[in-house]
């Protein structure tokens, strides 16, 4: 065989750290009602991986995710996402940053009921300034990938919960963002649908050029993660690696960062 074809290049000698949050502090409220939600949190994610953030309800997962997504400011610490230091960006710059770099999946799907499925999916493209016709075409392609190509014309409320979340997946991926964040994507679904959706999601979202962060307390879907950050009472207490589902392009060894 021609050595040219047999020589496989080193897939990923040292995976790139694309999210690096360190010493994050966040409190809500004032005076006696003040609650300290994030306590000196350090959180890292690498390109190509699916990172899960798990922990009991109220421990601060959503708050941390909001900070990383640039939708909420923090009281202390640095958050660097794709070489951007979020704390130093203006509101307008953060908005542009989100539009370009982040795909969102919400617990309640948040599809706009008066738009068709395809129109919903096209929203991130429209935000980026793509023309309506082109955006719709790409949206239908994205819908094909989640198995809903035939139903692009329907309204979201005609779809089951699982199907709606698949539409949301198509919307999160349609503009091919390098970071996808999901907050409790299976919480509004029953166990079976939750697994179907996560199975599909882990297939279509996983990409060498993308980091995926999933917040969940649904332990049935933990198996889809490459790594899991365990959070409790505002702190990351442990980061575990799951080699079982680690794809070939994600071969790296690194020290697990533990918060002190």
């Amino acid at each position: 065989m021609n050595p040219q074809w047999s020589s496989v290049p080193d897939p990923s000698p040292s995976p790139k750290l694309v999210i690096d949050a360190s010493g994050i502090e966040k409190s809500f409220g004032d005076g006696s009602s003040r609650i300290h939600v994030l306590k000196n949190v350090n959180f890292q994610a690498y390109i190509g991986e699916i990172m899960m953030l798990v922990g009991p309800s109220g421990c601060g997962k959503t708050t941390l995710l909001s900070a990383i997504a640039g939708t909420m400011g923090v009281d202390g610490g640095d958050i660097i996402v794709f070489d951007n230091e979020l704390g130093k960006m203006s509101g307008a710059a953060l908005t542009r940053f989100r539009a370009k770099n982040i795909g969102f999946i919400f617990q309640q799907f948040n599809l706009i009921p008066t738009l068709t499925v395809a129109e919903n999916v096209s929203v991130p493209l429209l935000i980026q300034g793509l023309a309506g016709g082109k955006a719709l075409k790409r949206s239908r392609e994205a819908l094909e990938k989640v198995g809903l190509g035939q139903r692009w014309k329907e309204r979201p409320n005609k779809l089951s919960g699982g199907e709606q979340q698949r539409v949301a997946i198509a919307r999160a991926l349609v503009h091919d963002p390098p970071l996808v964040i999901c907050d409790e994507p299976t919480a509004a679904l029953d166990a079976k649908n939750g697994e179907i959706v996560l199975d599909l999601f882990s297939q279509v979202a996983r990409s060498p050029g993308r980091a995926v962060i999933i917040v969940t307390h649904d332990n049935r879907i933990f198996s889809y993660a490459d790594r899991i950050s365990h959070m409790d009472d505002g702190e990351i207490v442990e980061v575990t690696k799951q080699s079982r589902t680690t794809p070939p392009h994600f071969e790296h060894e690194h020290t697990i960062a533990l918060t002190p």
Partner: protein, 400 residues
């Protein structure tokens, strides 16, 4: 982006219809009431439209055309003697009662004009000959008079026509012509006769002359002639801006605007009657109804969609573009509500024009101003939504 905004708007049928209905009512109230007001104000100047003369010379205290402070008969000659005046003729104008064949009385606006020149005669005759006014006991009536002075208007055979007679203060008046005229403020028809006969029709008084109508001399503007008349006679001279151009003074290059009797009359009614207040109140109510319904409904619409708008914000839509979307939505319902309101006003106007009642006059300024008012309402509504949305943190979208 804008189509997205429209789909969100039209998708919420109930609120969309509510918004359009509110703006529709506001438009209709504002346009219709303002038009009736303008129509009414126009009626106050009906004599100035019907008696076509460039200059009205009246007693010094007179402020508007429906007010008649009698002048001396010699005042005609005094005005005539002003060199800036080409001609000056007497005018009688007053409200009189007509007795019909069946014994009933009707109020009319009697106009007496100079028999020789017929200055101030009706401008558009429909039937008959104006010159027949020089025959004894003759009058020219307007079309409204047919309706008012016929014993039975519904029966075409019994309608008043040329050759028929009625009485004004027991003196016979034979109809020799029918003309078109604008309806008077008091609602009565116009009846033309000669000046001398008008005095016979009128219960005798010491002074009978209502006004002297006049025209500027050659090379003179109305304004200049009016100024000269005032200076030389001490009487009050108004110009009738509808008849005669406001020519530029070649010597000074300036146009001095002399008191227009139309404007003076309308202002007199605006200042001295409750009419503007009652109509103004309705217009203000229209505005308030519009603001209340539109702002409240639009705000509810924004609140309903806050979750979705917040998701758009999280997904990277700027506040600016979200604001544009809200403005566009408000603007759209404004256009639709205004359009329908204007259509309804037009339908109302058709009816009014057909019946001659109520007075209606819609200069282009009314729809333009109403459109501006409606859009102000819509922008207010949009602004409330924009403020609410700007307070919405994109991070809230994660908290269902």
């Amino acid at each position: 982006m804008f189509s997205l905004a429209l789909k969100m708007l039209f998708g919420d049928t109930a609120k969309y219809l509510m918004l359009v209905a509110g703006l529709f009512f506001a438009t209709f109230l504002i346009v219709q009431q303002a038009s009736v007001f303008c129509g009414l104000m126009r009626w106050t100047t009906a004599t100035l439209k019907n008696v076509a003369a460039p200059i009205y010379v009246v007693e010094e205290q007179v402020e508007q055309v429906n007010e008649t402070n009698p002048m001396r008969d010699t005042d005609v000659a005094r005005v005539r003697s002003v060199s800036a005046v080409r001609w000056a003729m007497p005018l009688y104008s007053g409200i009189q009662r007509v007795r019909l064949a069946d014994g009933s009385f009707k109020t009319v606006q009697l106009v007496g004009i100079d028999a020789a020149s017929l200055a101030g005669a009706p401008q558009r005759m429909v039937e008959g000959n104006l010159k027949d006014l020089r025959l004894p006991n003759t009058v020219v009536i307007d079309e409204l008079a047919i309706e008012r002075l016929s014993v039975d208007f519904k029966d075409p055979a019994k309608r008043i026509k040329i050759g028929d007679s009625f009485e004004i203060n027991d003196i016979e008046a034979r109809v020799v012509g029918i003309c078109q005229a604008m309806r008077s403020f008091t609602g009565g028809p116009y009846i033309w006769t000669t000046y001398e006969r008008a005095l016979q029709y009128t219960p005798p008084q010491r002074k009978m002359l209502s006004a002297v109508i006049a025209a500027p001399g050659k090379g003179m503007t109305m304004d200049q002639a009016a100024a000269a008349i005032e200076k030389e006679t001490g009487l009050r001279a108004y110009v009738n801006r509808d008849f005669g151009k406001n020519e530029r003074d070649v010597t000074t290059g300036k146009t001095t605007r002399y008191g227009d009797f139309n404007t003076a009359t309308v202002w007199w009614y605006v200042k001295n009657t409750g009419i503007p207040i009652s109509f103004g109140t309705t217009v203000v109510i229209g505005f308030i109804v519009g603001v209340a319904i539109a702002c409240q409904t639009f705000y509810a619409f924004v609140l309903d969609n806050l979750k979705h708008l917040g998701a758009l914000k999280a997904m990277g839509m700027s506040n600016f573009r979200l604001s544009l979307m809200l403005i566009f939505q408000a603007f759209t319902v404004g256009i639709i509500g205004f359009g329908l309101g204007l259509l309804a006003s037009a339908a109302f106007a058709m009816g009014a024009l057909k019946n001659g009642q109520p007075p209606l006059y819609m200069p282009w300024q009314i729809p333009v101003a109403a459109f501006a008012v409606i859009q102000v309402i819509c922008m207010l509504a949009a602004l409330m939504g924009i403020i609410r949305l700007s307070l919405y943190e994109p991070a809230m979208v994660f908290r269902a």
